[in-house]
Symmetry: none
Subunit: 532 residues, 2 copies
Amino acid sequence: MKDLPDDGFHVFDTTLRDGAQREGINLTVADKLTIARHLDDFGVGFIEGGWPGANPRDTEFFARARAEIDFKHAQLVAFGATRKAGVRAEDDAQVKALLDSGAPVITLVAKSHDRHVELALRTTLEENLAMVRETVAHLRSQGRRVFLDCEHFFDGYRANAAYAKQVVSAAHEAGAEVVILCDTNGGMLPGQIDAVVRTVLADTGARLGIHAQDDTGCAVANTLAAVDAGATHVQCTANGYGERVGNANLFPVVAALELKYGRRVLPEGALEEMTRISHAIAEVVNLTPSTHQPYVGVSAFAHKAGLHASAIKVDPDLYQHIDPERVGNTMRMLVSDMAGRASIELKGKELGIDLGGDRALVGRIVERVKERELAGYTYEAADASFELLLRQEVEGRPRRFFRVESWRAIVEDRPDGTHANEATVKLWAKGERIVATAEGNGPVNALDRALRVGLERIYPQLATMELVDYKVRILEGKHGTESTTRVLVSTADGQGEWSTVGVGENVIAASWQALDDAYAYGLLRAGVDPQE
Amino acid sequence: MKDLPDDGFHVFDTTLRDGAQREGINLTVADKLTIARHLDDFGVGFIEGGWPGANPRDTEFFARARAEIDFKHAQLVAFGATRKAGVRAEDDAQVKALLDSGAPVITLVAKSHDRHVELALRTTLEENLAMVRETVAHLRSQGRRVFLDCEHFFDGYRANAAYAKQVVSAAHEAGAEVVILCDTNGGMLPGQIDAVVRTVLADTGARLGIHAQDDTGCAVANTLAAVDAGATHVQCTANGYGERVGNANLFPVVAALELKYGRRVLPEGALEEMTRISHAIAEVVNLTPSTHQPYVGVSAFAHKAGLHASAIKVDPDLYQHIDPERVGNTMRMLVSDMAGRASIELKGKELGIDLGGDRALVGRIVERVKERELAGYTYEAADASFELLLRQEVEGRPRRFFRVESWRAIVEDRPDGTHANEATVKLWAKGERIVATAEGNGPVNALDRALRVGLERIYPQLATMELVDYKVRILEGKHGTESTTRVLVSTADGQGEWSTVGVGENVIAASWQALDDAYAYGLLRAGVDPQE
């Protein structure tokens, strides 16, 4: 039997197994390998890769991971169930698959709620204990480290505490290194966790872990409550992905342990990579990263209230519980009608524009922002439009690269069922009058193309620019007036992205404005000299 | 001085004030009134409407709310700061605005962290206490109920516990009914909350509330920890909206109190409305509802793992911590179609369409719905479109009142600065071919008018119909594919309203579909016989 290494605290990631059970996630083997690399970079101690044997894709994952990944920090873990009732562990095909995976660590899942043993497994309480004992012992005899997940532990403990503890003891005595108490249905609250964990620890002497689901919105807190009560192994997933609502989110859990508990649970310097890794994993699973995730969300350190901004000017710590840099994130000031002078000054600084402490200028900018926000503009999500506004106020006049004389868009649905979307723009650039027409998949797309067709010869820099996001919002008018349309556009040029806003009486007019700003900003950014 | 009512537990909602500080939310007064109605329907005890005086939009909100909303459950609350340093409460313009709002309850925010008093307010610790005492006393003398938010309480308590408690006592002794301990920077963990709340309760005798921010991912747990320690007033926001990461989410908080603590904190039957209200509020703020929110998310009771599915077939409780119906949600199986069939049959019943227990028919409808939802349709908010789909499957062919041969919309911005929006439709109705043109304030409005101009002679019933709501959403395509546009339209005929959905490659095409369905449904509803 291998020497068991001495490892004080386990950060156990199950993104690739439990996380993959989230609605909307569908991981290829290549995806899994990429995510495994990110997790290893982050420094988790264990990466549960999947259920070999049960899922053919997972069988392949383990084979390829062994061949292709040289793990720097993590040990690979294979997940599976205890042997079937009435079958010997060494004869069970699925147990064999766990061994064949080659993973040095195996997590077995076992029922610890008597009702589940009877209704779901349809066997006896005694046989279930034997299944636990024998499968653990068998895997240990083959030189593997074994962890045992007690499924439905807390519900099982409530129903039949004695039996639930027997399952823990059976696993522990057979050689399972850690026995994990799982809140599988996610119904627990933190106040309930403490007493259970302390009692089980005292009564069984096993090393305990915690696996929390987020159905009550308390998975992170439940995980920490278990740690407070003596658990030394936490199971989490990146970005909280998982079945139903999700699992305990790896990032706020390790951040709490490192930053609040002062415990080192990750390698040196890993925490500063957290924001990057969170976003990278979201990219692989093709889910928009949640903007409001603790620590790593784009909005996590974004300040809106003017009251907050004026305090932050004095000291950012007045409204931040930690320095965002510690988790690889940054502070952002949001400009909105809630902003005041302080927000404008800080935002100007953020954009590299020195407002020179000019109170009258800053006051004018605050007024213009409030005016425009009242008219429907929003600068929170349109930094580039805001910068153009700032520069215009600072320089006293708008920077213009082209002047539009007129535009027209036609959308048609013809009798033969075909669609046509065509736009024509007439404009002036560098003293020349240009007329351009283009087609597209919609009126806005057609206008965008016509504008570029018209201008690309004069401003070749436009060729690198591309519309990458587009949002529409209809704003209710006040009583008796027409509603207004607001459009937010994101444009990219291969080196970065910028956002602009447009407001108008209909979606075409609003889009036009947002595009106009987008290209003006893009050309400014490309270092072109403004001239009409 | 008014008699204070006896109210045991406060559910205090601050969606309209703190929630509005979330990045990306920009509420009009009309939006706020709509949300206030939803919150009142849900049965919260208090609705903090905003900061009158400081935000002109909020001043207007309070005026209109008083005139237009007849609250069934909630009391309206105005939020604002204690008087300025060195100014008398009765002379402070912003305090006066709080009184002028007419709100029966006022929440004052005060500094309780010595560092904030010195750096942010730039006054003395003594003056800050006087600001608290005098403003509370003044508002009480004017007959208002007063709550006092101790900003940065927990950080302040850690830095200078004696002073933090003095602030609590000052408010309490001056007549504040509840003193709320705020974790303003959101850095607290649940294990830390208990001791602080218990001590403050014991040492000041004040009635305490809790206001938690979600920066560590523990806002719900922190709120419950405070309740466990004796707080009887919880401040939350719908869907957890708020500054930075967000506030404690109203829904998992009240669900925990009602379903886990067995405490009645909402009116009878309110909890079953929770899912509907969560989504309705998300719709108003124009944010995609988080699919993975506890209790109310679309995925909250969606089961994916095969292991779970077979157990659930035996008993849903095996993998659900509560019956989803208790919060107005439903269970969904992501693998089998069993739940799909059940929902279709129930919906048919609801719409008065007898699906006759026809398994093949129901199966076909389930498939069509899945197909269409994959393409971007959503029937949750488009009952009328769903009913048309049902009837089409039941009757074997669509009901048509008119057949569109072609349509065209032109949007123009002319050199003289004027705009033109014109649409032409060519269609067949009751055997007649009609060509109609109309102008409007945008391409969709022009199309709508052209359609009506063309059809009103043949179907005079159209004269009573009016578009009353219109929402656009751009749906992200998966990697490498084009995005799709979805439009939801509400139409009214003086007797009721109905909603339809349209999906297309651009907003005009999508709107056209939604309008087509809207009028087809309207005519069906008016009892007109379908015929082309």
